[in-house]
């Protein structure tokens, strides 16, 4: 059983910003990132993977972790991932070709192979997955050090996820006046739709304040 240890964050760690948000995804639990198209869910996912694979900025743990990315729709763009800071050599990419059952089987196999710091099940519009499958995945990672994050467009009631993060599109950012010259990024809002964790209070946020406004750049 992983025991969370409270320690001083490293210099430059933005406790109330994205670092605090990414630190919420608990090891040994199932978490979800839900949100429609162009709401920043995949960007948030890449930021989480980058944090785990490359840096020790995650609060004192050294060495990059290994991440398994079960790609339900074969949608991962490695160029975006590399730009986001993901160490591609630490990433195991499993392409499932749009087959939900294959993606679930792959995630189940990986969840039973301890040692990965993070397993991502990116389903997008293939999801949400049946609650029974979610329960099976939750049981597989329970008590270990692996965080399991499911990315889907919609949230299913009855999910055993310990943390559900919802993303919402606010506005794109364009450069130039009319005519526009370039897409500069996207502003999104991330909120905690549901949490069974006790770490939110550590971030100095009270009930109803669990939301972050994030600017993603292109």
């Amino acid at each position: 059983m992983a025991i969370p240890i409270e320690s001083s964050p490293p210099p430059g760690w933005d406790r109330e910003g994205i670092d605090g948000l990414l630190g919420l995804f608990p090891p040994g639990r199932l978490s979800e990132i839900v949100g429609p198209r162009s709401s920043g869910g995949s960007s948030l996912l890449l930021a989480l993977i980058a944090r785990i694979t490359t840096s020790d900025s995650g609060g004192g743990s050294g060495g990059g972790g290994q991440v398994a990315f079960v790609d339900g729709m074969d949608a991962l763009d490695p160029a975006s991932a590399a730009s986001a800071g993901v160490d591609l050599s630490a990433l195991l990419w499993v392409k499932c070709g749009g087959r939900l059952r294959t993606a679930l089987s792959a995630a189940d196999l990986l969840a039973r192979c301890p040692g990965f710091s993070l397993i991502v099940l990116d389903l997008d519009e293939l999801g949400p997955i049946p609650a029974s499958a979610q329960m099976r995945l939750q049981r597989a990672v329970e008590g270990g050090d692996t965080a399991l994050v499911v990315r889907s467009a919609r949230h299913r009631e009855g999910s055993p996820a310990s943390l559900v993060v919802a993303t919402r599109r606010l506005a794109p950012r364009w450069m130039g006046l009319r005519p526009l010259t370039r897409l500069a990024g996207l502003r999104t809002e991330v909120s905690i739709a549901r949490s069974r964790l006790h770490t939110l209070s550590c971030l100095g946020r009270g009930q109803g304040e669990e939301s972050w406004t994030l600017d993603w750049t292109l």
Partner: protein, 427 residues
């Protein structure tokens, strides 16, 4: 006192690998230190062998007979240095021994060609009128150094029979192979898997005794009717665990079972030496090699070999130029690289790009219709034009547009000169 024997093939067998390996086996049966000089020539340490084979003439004669018995007649020379032994083998009748301390006198009449000189140096020495090693020795060392540098002085030392280099020991390649016969023939997979598991345990035990691991396994099943079913397995990490290897072999055989009654089995391992490393206390955990290898094999069976690996960016400007490399987590601790990324807006690729119908107004897209997305375009920038590989068989050309649909979706459209595609969705 150093004594070296040279075995030199007499026929045109110098380029035959089988001749060389046969002669190496002959030499290894007589001396523990053998040097493979290549091209039908080898040297062996002849010191201290009197107790085993008698004096040197007897040893030379014995080597001469043994080479002939192996099917590759050879001449043998024994002397105090490599070059003198080679000269004795080259110039002698069959088995020649140069008396101790007689190397210089024996080499004096030997031809320069024994030195294996480059064409340029051979021509140069020829222009100087040198034909024998004795003539090279008679040259003043200082003058030779001025003209040929250190190489000239070294050649002169060799020509005197002064060669301080020890023999570079040749060792036969280790073969980790085990075979078993199925006396009654195995008609189902279970006994085949069981026998292969036994072979894997024996091979892994032998590997472990030598501190080695295997990064590849090959098996051959001999079937009825002189047919053969073979296959190979490359675990994600080098392995020495017989049970884990047996599990991988079972998965591989289940994926591609032999079609017929199996009469005999052979399992061969490719040995590698792995360096023991110490894990860091602060390092993040990594999957155990055994479990990872089994998991990767199951995933390959699930999604196919081309659907799993570590993503790799290809050295190309072609859109979506990515490949899949072998996923191999490092076995040793490596310091973490600093987080260099920023909050990057991710693009979700559509593979293959979805064909799209795009309505244009004044050359700009104003509406999109595809199987994945449809709607009015409220904002857009482009075209970002790119092209490449026009010099190859597969040139490409693409105009890209970043557009926002009325429902707020941000996506990337691409036009390849003939048709529109939905390349990806920003998320």
């Amino acid at each position: 006192m150093t004594r070296i024997a040279c075995v030199l093939t007499t026929t045109g067998a110098a380029t035959e690998p089988s001749a060389q390996s046969a002669l190496l086996e002959v030499a290894l049966a007589h001396s523990p230190r053998v040097e493979d000089a290549g091209a039908g020539r080898l040297y062996l340490d002849a010191s201290g062998l009197q107790g085993l084979f008698g004096d040197e003439p007897r040893l030379a004669a014995r080597l001469h007979r043994a080479a002939a018995a192996a099917g590759w007649p050879a001449r043998v020379g024994i002397a105090g240095s490599r070059l003198a032994a080679l000269a004795a083998a080259h110039m002698g009748p069959g088995a020649t021994v140069v008396e101790p301390d007689g190397d210089a006198a024996y080499l004096a009449v030997a031809p320069l060609s024994l030195l294996d000189l480059s064409e340029e140096l051979t021509a140069r020495l020829s222009r100087w009128g040198l034909r024998t090693l004795g003539e090279l020795v008679s040259l003043p060392t200082a003058g030779l150094f001025e003209r040929l540098g250190g190489e000239g002085v070294w050649l002169q030392r060799l020509a005197r029979g002064d060669d301080p280099r020890p023999l570079a020991s040749w060792k036969p390649a280790l073969l980790f192979e085990e075979s078993a016969e199925c006396e009654w023939g195995a008609e189902t997979l279970a006994p085949v898997v069981e026998r292969l598991g036994e072979l894997a345990a024996r091979v892994c035990e032998r590997l472990g005794e030598r501190g080695l691991a295997a990064d590849g396994f090959e098996w051959v099943c001999r079937l009825d009717g002189a047919r053969v079913h073979d296959g190979a397995l490359a675990p994600a990490v080098p392995m020495t665990d017989g049970a884990a290897v047996a599990g991988l072999l079972r998965l591989a055989l289940e994926a591609r079972p032999p079609r017929g009654i199996v009469r005999a089995l052979t399992l061969r391992a490719r040995p590698v030496r792995i360096t023991a490393t110490q894990e860091s206390l602060t390092d993040r955990s990594r999957p155990s090699p055994r479990l990872l290898a089994a998991t990767l094999n199951r995933l390959v069976a699930l999604v196919g070999a081309d659907g799993i690996g570590a993503p790799a960016l290809l050295d190309s400007h072609r859109p979506d130029a990515v490949g899949l490399g072998a996923y191999a987590p490092p076995l040793s601790f490596s310091p973490p690289s600093p987080l260099r990324g920023d909050r990057i807006l991710a693009l979700r690729r559509l593979r293959p790009p979805a064909p799209a119908a795009v309505t244009l107004a004044s050359g700009r897209p104003v509406a999109l219709r595809s199987s994945r997305l449809a709607g009015r375009i409220v904002a857009g920038v482009g075209p970002w034009r790119s092209s490449g590989e026009w010099w190859s068989q597969h040139p490409w050309l693409q105009d890209e547009w970043d557009v926002e649909l009325a429902d707020g979706t941000l996506c990337r459209l691409a036009h390849d000169g003939s048709a529109w595609h939905l390349a990806g969705i920003y998320d």
